[in-house]
Symmetry: C2
Subunit: 420 residues, 2 copies
């Protein structure tokens, strides 16, 4: 018989507690999670009286009829930008092609112009509002990329906005320096821009400790595999961990490069080759799949999630939140899309939005699961089974969100029922 654990936080009586483990998940019924000082102490089924000793003033959540999952981990977001691109969205519906939108000054360069023009405080304000949305959707940890600055000052400003946001918001941020595109002013001289990245920007970002990862948009017409290798090899030499935007639109060998360099993740992968995927599996590179993006781009293409899983690739799913190709902050909806468009089961999709996400950002020792010693980051969903998170597509089921043992979001009904 175990000794009782001491706790200052207890969520109990949940219909289900969804517990990711290395290669799958367990479901506890009538389950509880107990924590002390922000760390999980115990999880279990049934009555807690014999197992948990509560401190005075402990936070106690009765989760009857509800489902507990680890806090969601969104492993791929671009939340530092100014200006929306809803006008382009309408043009695309009416048949405009991205290259036409780019040619008329829209697309990513519109975001770059507005982000460069914005103050750090404005960017901070935007990031905080997005973090509020994410938290209310159950996300407690995100990876967040710079990449709409494309010059030293604007990239540093973007990363500083992330740093300040992390200091004042419960959502935990893993910052990434993203080499997103060649800016307009270097269009005739790509190699000069790449030199700027490797000789000035990466050293400065690494020195200021503003990013933990480096990422590059490796794609036909953006950065070639060779250019991406140059940039990432440099970043690695400065101690940054690696990510790659790989094989989203064309199969260029991004997955292979991720494996070659030992990147922590390769992301998108809609057109990744069989060879690239098996190299990723062999090297332990996590695949971050972004099913919202082709959905929003009105493409029928999708990453081969089932095939990747069969090859032994670890799968994460994420929102790709950005103003051009995926303006959603809702990981629950992306869980639905992973099921409906990539054939993942609700449990697999949820695993990939928790444990898988944590692995994709090198945080699986602290978040993405609910094992004793890990951070007590969890979501109470107002539904009787984890399956509902995918099944009830578009419905906001998040009831409460807990970060490090503290309730940081609480849904209030807000509806006035009245006899008319």
């Amino acid at each position: 018989m175990n000794e009782k654990v001491t706790a200052d936080f207890l969520a109990h009586s949940a219909s289900e507690v969804f517990l990711p483990v290395s290669n799958g998940y367990r479901i506890l019924q009538h389950g509880y999670v107990a924590a002390l000082a922000g760390r999980v102490q115990a999880v279990g089924e049934g009555d807690t009286a014999g197992n948990v000793s509560l401190l005075p003033h402990a936070t106690v959540l009765d989760c009857t009829g509800k489902t507990i999952t680890p806090g969601l981990v969104d492993a791929h977001t671009h939340p530092v930008f100014a200006g929306w691109r809803d006008d382009e969205f309408e043009l695309r519906i009416q048949g405009a092609q991205y290259k036409d939108i780019l040619a008329s000054g829209g697309g990513i360069m519109s975001s770059v112009r507005k982000t460069r023009a914005a103050s750090e405080d404005e960017l901070l304000c935007n990031v905080l509002s997005f973090l509020d949305e994410m938290l209310s959707s159950g996300t407690t940890t995100i990876e967040a990329k710079s990449g709409y600055g494309l010059d030293l000052q604007s990239e540093i400003k973007s990363l500083n906005a992330l740093k300040r946001a992390a200091e004042s918001h419960p959502v935990e941020i893993v910052p990434t320096f993203l080499v997103h595109s060649v800016p307009t002013e270097y269009k005739g001289n790509r190699s000069e821009f790449i030199n700027l990245v490797t000789d000035v920007m990466i050293p400065e970002v690494a020195h200021s400790r503003l990013a933990e990862f480096a990422d590059v948009f490796c794609e036909d017409g953006v950065f070639s595999v060779e250019e991406s290798r140059t940039i990432l090899t440099c970043a690695s030499s400065y101690g940054l961990k690696l990510k790659i935007h790989a094989d989203e639109l064309e199969s260029t060998g991004g997955a292979e490069l991720a494996a070659e360099l030992g990147a922590v993740s390769a992301d998108h992968l809609i057109r990744a080759s069989d060879k690239g995927l098996s190299a990723m599996a062999a090297r332990g590179v996590v695949a971050v799949l972004l099913p919202g993006t082709p959905f929003f781009l009105m493409s029928d293409e999708r990453a081969r999630a089932r095939f990747m899983k069969e090859q032994g690739v670890t799968l994460a799913i994420a929102t790709d939140f950005n103003p051009g190709t995926s303006p959603t902050t809702s990981l629950p909806l992306v869980i639905s899309l992973a099921c409906l468009r990539m054939g993942m089961t609700p449990g697999e999709a949820l695993w990939s939005a928790t444990k898988g996400g944590a692995m994709a950002i090198g945080r699986d020792h602290t978040v993405g699961a609910l094992e004793p010693g890990m951070q007590c980051d969890l979501v109470v969903f107002d539904c009787p089974s984890h399956r509902h998170i995918a099944y009830r597509y578009g419905v906001h089921l998040v009831d409460q969100v807990v970060k490090r043992g503290k309730v940081v979001f609480r849904k209030t009904k807000g509806v006035t029922r009245q006899v008319r």
Copy 2:
């Protein structure tokens, strides 16, 4: 110069006010909506001081940076049921066919069994919780169908639950008696069930005034065009207005039947014939399109919205909320789907979820627009343009909802920002 209007409600300074009109919409900038005793008195742009005289204790909403639309009208829902079918959802992802699910006792018959077994109070409780979800998504009026009872007592129980829900909840309900399927106990004797419908159920429903519309599931393997004609002709003779579930899975002539009988709407229409659609246009039958349903059924098919519009058919969009094929209550997400999967622009989709929805349920004289004299049902979305409602897919942008001039939903942020 106009005289000032007197108002006890004013929403002002909105970035946009989206105003559906008969054949399209107008956008007011820096707009306001003024109402008295639940009815719109005036809409306009700019400063209200010269145009609106506020009563003491008037409700005043500052909508700076926000978008006002009419309350959303969900013209096709099935909210009276007990039990979920998330288990079937997981089976379908794994490749199960609906006929196999039916054969193993699942599918609609699982909902029928549980709905028959539920008390009226249980059904009422379920309906109220769905209405809460809908209201928090911006829906202020719904059409709601019975149809999981399939016997007199259970259908009356279902319609009574709707009646009681309407009496205690701000969401306005237009009730429909739906002949949904032949129940198991009549499988060998369809004509006896149809006689029961026409000789007992329709007279009782009409006599008790529990439904305003009758609807039938006209589809291969459910009710034939001939059976549907029999049922709907009978319903019409009792004064019920008509709707038809038409041509969802096969082109059976449901659209043609809707035109022949002068139905108010024909719904689904994924396989509707050109001839049926032009007959609908000629007769003024509204097409209710349900893009969530094929999305959730993992089908690439979709209704031909653009073609229908070119033919002169009036288009509504709706959730089809039900536990089997569309478990969402979110009309905003359906607006996104209408754009992404049927090529509607955000403005067209929003028109179809307001004015079009109201036309599909015969309520366009009171709801679905914001003209003087109409009910002051409106939504304040926390976004600068109506386009965001479609563009920011899956994000809960509803800030406040007003029904008959009263605030009935208010989003509270619920997020605790804190320095860690």
